[in-house]
Symmetry: C2
Subunit: 609 residues, 2 copies
Amino acid sequence: MKHRVTFFPGSVTVEVDEGETVLDAAVAAGVHVDASCGGEGTCGKCRVLVEGPHRGPASTDGHVLACRTYPEGELSVFVPAGSEARAGKIHGAYANVEPEVQEPLAESIHVAMEAPSLDDNLADLERLRCALGRPSVGIILPALRSLPSVLRSSGWNAVTTIARAGGTEEIIEVRHDDDAMDVGAAIDIGTTTVALELIDLRTGKVLAQASDYNRQMVAGEDVLARIAYAEEKGPERLQELIVGTINRLLGKLCSVDGDRRSDDRFHADDIKALSIGANPTMTLLLLGLDPRHIRYEPYIPVVHEPPVVRAAEIGLMTHPHAPVYCIPGRAAYVGGDVTADVLLSGMHLRDELSLLIDVGTNGEVVLGNHEWMVACSTSAGPAFEGGEVSCGMRAMSGAIDAVTISNGELKISTIGSQEPVGICGSGLIDLVAQMFLGGWIDRKGRMVSDGSERFRNNDGAVSAVVHSGETDILINEDDITNILRTKAAVYAGCSVLLNSLDLTFNDVSRVYIAGGFGSHIDVGNAQLIGLLPDIPRERFEFIGNGSLGGAGMTLLSASARKAARSIFDSMTYLDLSSSSMFFDQYSSALFLPHTDLDQFPSVRERLKK
Amino acid sequence: MKHRVTFFPGSVTVEVDEGETVLDAAVAAGVHVDASCGGEGTCGKCRVLVEGPHRGPASTDGHVLACRTYPEGELSVFVPAGSEARAGKIHGAYANVEPEVQEPLAESIHVAMEAPSLDDNLADLERLRCALGRPSVGIILPALRSLPSVLRSSGWNAVTTIARAGGTEEIIEVRHDDDAMDVGAAIDIGTTTVALELIDLRTGKVLAQASDYNRQMVAGEDVLARIAYAEEKGPERLQELIVGTINRLLGKLCSVDGDRRSDDRFHADDIKALSIGANPTMTLLLLGLDPRHIRYEPYIPVVHEPPVVRAAEIGLMTHPHAPVYCIPGRAAYVGGDVTADVLLSGMHLRDELSLLIDVGTNGEVVLGNHEWMVACSTSAGPAFEGGEVSCGMRAMSGAIDAVTISNGELKISTIGSQEPVGICGSGLIDLVAQMFLGGWIDRKGRMVSDGSERFRNNDGAVSAVVHSGETDILINEDDITNILRTKAAVYAGCSVLLNSLDLTFNDVSRVYIAGGFGSHIDVGNAQLIGLLPDIPRERFEFIGNGSLGGAGMTLLSASARKAARSIFDSMTYLDLSSSSMFFDQYSSALFLPHTDLDQFPSVRERLKK
């Protein structure tokens, strides 16, 4: 028996089978409902209002949990505004890197030919190849079909777009010499957030940016939840969701239908190449590949270095034959996003020992120099991206992004100076650090309530008040526990990597911080909570969204693609799940800042004051 | 206003616009109606029976000409059985050539891999590439999608099919080790006839054969008529018709739906590669390319060496990603079929001077040796394939294929010893030669009627009786004129080529005869009519359908493909239309055997007897 479920706002209707939940229906409909726990009924975020026959536990305020509610007939579901994913600001890529344009993934070349004659009777394609100086360049059939009329109507003066894939080149378009732009898209596909830049393929200039939540979030917040979903229901739906996310971002920046010169916007057909930085699960799902085997020992992905595919093959609405290049990645949980981070940082070119930390839903750490590199991955969790924290949110308008506590008074600033609606990653780091420094929490992250109005006690569960207003913003001990787990996982990853090579943080000349919030966190506070090691401030360098930046570099340059390949080739993967050291290090790091205060001498000094 | 037209047998219904003819409707419906003159109303072959409102001249026997009849409402059209194309026998490829299998267009390789482990954590694709010894081999997305499950369910023992295109290799299928065959298709696409062989890609053995009329014949009999049709209506319909012809041939030899091992037949998906020998117009139309520009000076085709495409891109019902290789061709009227002839003959490897003659609807001639080659093309017409001759037909069951006249008595033999229904090419050569020798016609091809029952006189038009029976088979002066034009065009082409290099037929060590009828004609009779030069019999060698044979060679061997490229590269094209010599030579050759009897000394001796 089937039940019709309609979601509002948007009036999206789907049919679900008896025994499927409202959350299942939301996933099927592509409607975003927060479900941090992946539908386990534990996070309480998937609250919706329903009208119509259903069964399942009701909550006191009339809301129900979508993951615990079963339609029993035609049902209307109202998704609260707060649950709708909103676009955030992209934290720009590494400003220190000048874009180098050298054999971009797609390149348009103006070609002037002699008209044929009885004495010069080369065929159209051979004439074009000859004029291009590429006697054996390939050509796709649609371009070949248009060739005779374009060459003749243009007076043998045409613009030829060449796409590059591996070592081969192929003509994907021949057109009149017009003012159409040659645009590429660099895309960072994070588990939580997708960021996209349109880049001029001739100059390397960034023309436009957009970002949004990865709509795959309807199927769970972390990669393991996504893999579990794909394993149960196949990767197709998740592939649709990520392609849909990218297409919506493209739709924000480009016109899709009609005459390509009808307005000033880019046309989707002008996008001639795409480069993708993503973790392995996101890369596999983008290509419609089954990720299930990376969930089980020995954690083997389908591919490290995916073949270049055509945009239309995976449903992207750019030029149908635009090459889609995915940056290669080393292992099941160290993907092209990490290769991109390294590429952008330049650590693979330097003698000095560098440590690179990418804090996303997964935390990845790379240690090395131009001779060698070792990488590991830790399941950090989405705490710094707004997940698994009751008051958490992404860095977007209204997010508290900085916190100070001075003389017992808590002060906040918000993005866009808006009325605060939640706390983003940098704000959480500040908050926990400042609460710790101010004595609001102890080294285990437990609330030290003084009975004042700073704290609220609800049946023994103590929360600290971050902001009271239209919406009160509170942080509780569970939230802090989740934040400690995240920072402990990242710090432990770094420690194990160093220990396994008999090195310490003091041997590291430079620490690169990558990730969406990378350029906005306060290093002192991050050291206070033990997220970052206690080494001199000047050794830290923020590279921002390295995955996006590396995608841009590989979009624009063959030598960057070659470097990406050599980074991934030379990287050794250290599997923390098989490392006995990791659990010890992780446990030690669950304290503020760490069990072993000797590792945080400057923090110890600050705590003494 | 639209009119519905339904064709019988088959009940195929189409709608045509006011002002379109029944022949237009037949083309749109894909129903074969003979139309040798391309719808000019002159050949009288497109006779059909109609029921319903129409306008146009009616013929005496109740039939109308499809090309001159306009539907004026719902119309039923009955196509006479004789007008339906029937399959003929393929005249086998050159028996002297052993098939060489060396890097065929597609190759299946059994690969055994070590299962992955924590210490050996290469991804699936990289593991496969490594086991194949091809670290950078490409892979299509559908094959990559199936890879994880195939590798694991096969116990890391899989069969990988690699397709070759130019210098690159690509995995198009990964499957369990089964007994599925690896089959390739070699196809000769003639203007009139399409012949197909299925070939075992491992052994080179020919597994099955089929041939049929090219269904493009509904749009006219020669390449110029096809080009004119494409120019007026676009190449799409002609592309559908040739692909439909090939798919029907495949359908005769393969099962298409259902389980591939359900019966003993090949499955269409087992066909992993295709190689095509065809003239330039047929090659272009197969790929959906516009042929119009080869009709006008300077006669420039879209492409000499087409890119390898995928079967599904052009609608062929084999394995969707089977590579389709078209043998490259030199000029607008000297195509891959001629390159294939040369390849099969081996003349490009020899010191001695060879002449190659391919008699089809177009006649092509190549002169040269391992150092140089010159080629030309003459519009021979379809006389030897059954076109433009009232009693003509293809070499199929019931065709008169040999004629002798002895003591005034005409004797015939037919293919399959059937009741004769028409005369095929070899029969026409014999017939004209024997009539000439017997004094039934003079040197201009005019009937020399003795008033006997051998001849019939219909309002001053004299016909000779070839067979009287249920259906009388007659040949008239117009038929003989068309045959003389064909033979004159071929002979003149050879003469001009030799003259332009200050050579004569006596300088030629070997004459290769290619074409569908090539192995069946009587050399003496062909010399009597002046089709073949009067040189010793032992210098002639018949290579049969060289286009099909060369397609088979290039299907099976990279060195054959390389040789094809070097043949086409080294060939010079002589444009007869710009040769003042050609018209003189042609006019001189319109006599039997020739104006200049000195060129036919042995024929002169025979005529004296």
